[in-house]
Symmetry: C2
Subunit: 215 residues, 2 copies
């Protein structure tokens, strides 16, 4: 059956469009090494990017899915590196469990401190985040400097994130920051290479909160 | 010179990271058919996606750049299809010229009307947008149904957008909606294929507003 021609999009509900998309992804993805739960994340990342190469570049720490579900279900804070990630996340499911999605990068105190120390707001926002949201999920889709700082704070024992979703995009330090993340023994979801970004970070996080709702 | 090793990201300003990224893109992009102004958009889309294939899939109506610049400079409204696009856009440059970035998809009246007509909120949001923001820039990064509706409204003479940036992503109707857009004789920026999304739509719009500031 050809899913592509079975309906007119303008008369079909978004939920049905998503279903059809997921069936197309299942058909096209081919072989992959993921568990069924990890695949739910991969599938949603492919859906958000239309990029199988990106989907299949995902790496999961062995505890990532379970740790993410636990963080959501216990109402831990979600920290986004940038507003785009915050605004894309499906908030109702997170708030249902008592959680909320925070972003610190435009806070006055963060901006002042970054200026004072002559560094990036992304870095300072992570230093603030670990004070307010430890044990939570860190969703980093844009700023490699935020991810590198978070990794440093983990290594120094100052941060204990429940899950790090580290999928920054870009030419400078993005791939390198994700390689560093993949060496940590904390729950993480990341990927290999330069690709990533806010939309796929949102997709991964939404996949986790959907799993949390179902288990 | 290898730009990759010349600095440590945590001690370098974001503006310098961007500069280095753009030089890497210039080196790697190879041959392309774009004018210097179109290339500014392509470069920023590649920067936001780390995806040269996506960057080189962009299509420009011959008047797109100029029309976009004019719309920004004359303070026309920008309409985003979803909140992620709205939250990612650099608003200061747009507001400087008197413009603002609107998104209608979560408005109460839009939600009610979509329910009443049993259709998508994206479609109804476009019907509202053309009443409030004609002559403006439509930045559609997520919903093919929004783009298809906007195309229909243009064809029927009900909408006269200044520029359509149509870069929805996905498996169902995204590529098809962009093919339809590319047939219109209105200023558009779009691309070939399934790829696209909020982050690249934001990148394209930010490139246009930067050009507007410079000419």
């Amino acid at each position: 059956m050809d899913f592509r021609t079975e309906f007119k999009p303008e008369t079909v509900h978004p939920i049905r469009i998503e279903e059809i998309s997921f069936r197309m992804i299942d058909e096209e993805i081919g072989e992959h090494p993921y568990t069924p739960e990890q695949y739910r994340v991969v599938q949603r990342v492919v859906h958000a990017s239309a990029d199988f190469e990106l989907g299949k570049s995902l790496l999961f720490h062995k505890d990532a899915i379970w740790a993410g579900i636990q963080a959501i279900k216990s109402g831990k804070k979600i920290v986004a590196d940038v507003q785009m990630v915050q605004s894309g996340v499906s908030k109702a499911r997170i708030e249902k469990f008592g959680g909320e999605v925070k972003v610190y990068i435009s806070d006055d105190d963060v901006m002042k401190e970054a200026k004072r120390l002559d560094t990036t707001r992304a870095i300072i926002s992570m230093r603030k985040a670990i004070k307010e949201a430890d044990g939570g999920i860190y969703a980093i889709g844009n700023a490699p400097t935020a991810l590198l700082e978070l990794i440093r704070l983990v290594k120094e024992g100052e941060a204990k994130p429940g899950l790090i979703i580290g999928l920054p995009v870009g030419f400078v330090s993005a791939a390198e920051s994700k390689e560093e993340l993949a060496k940590l023994d904390v729950p993480f979801i990341t990927n290999i290479g330069r690709k990533g970004g806010s939309t796929v970070t949102v997709a991964a996080l939404n996949a986790i909160s959907l799993l949390a709702e179902q288990v």
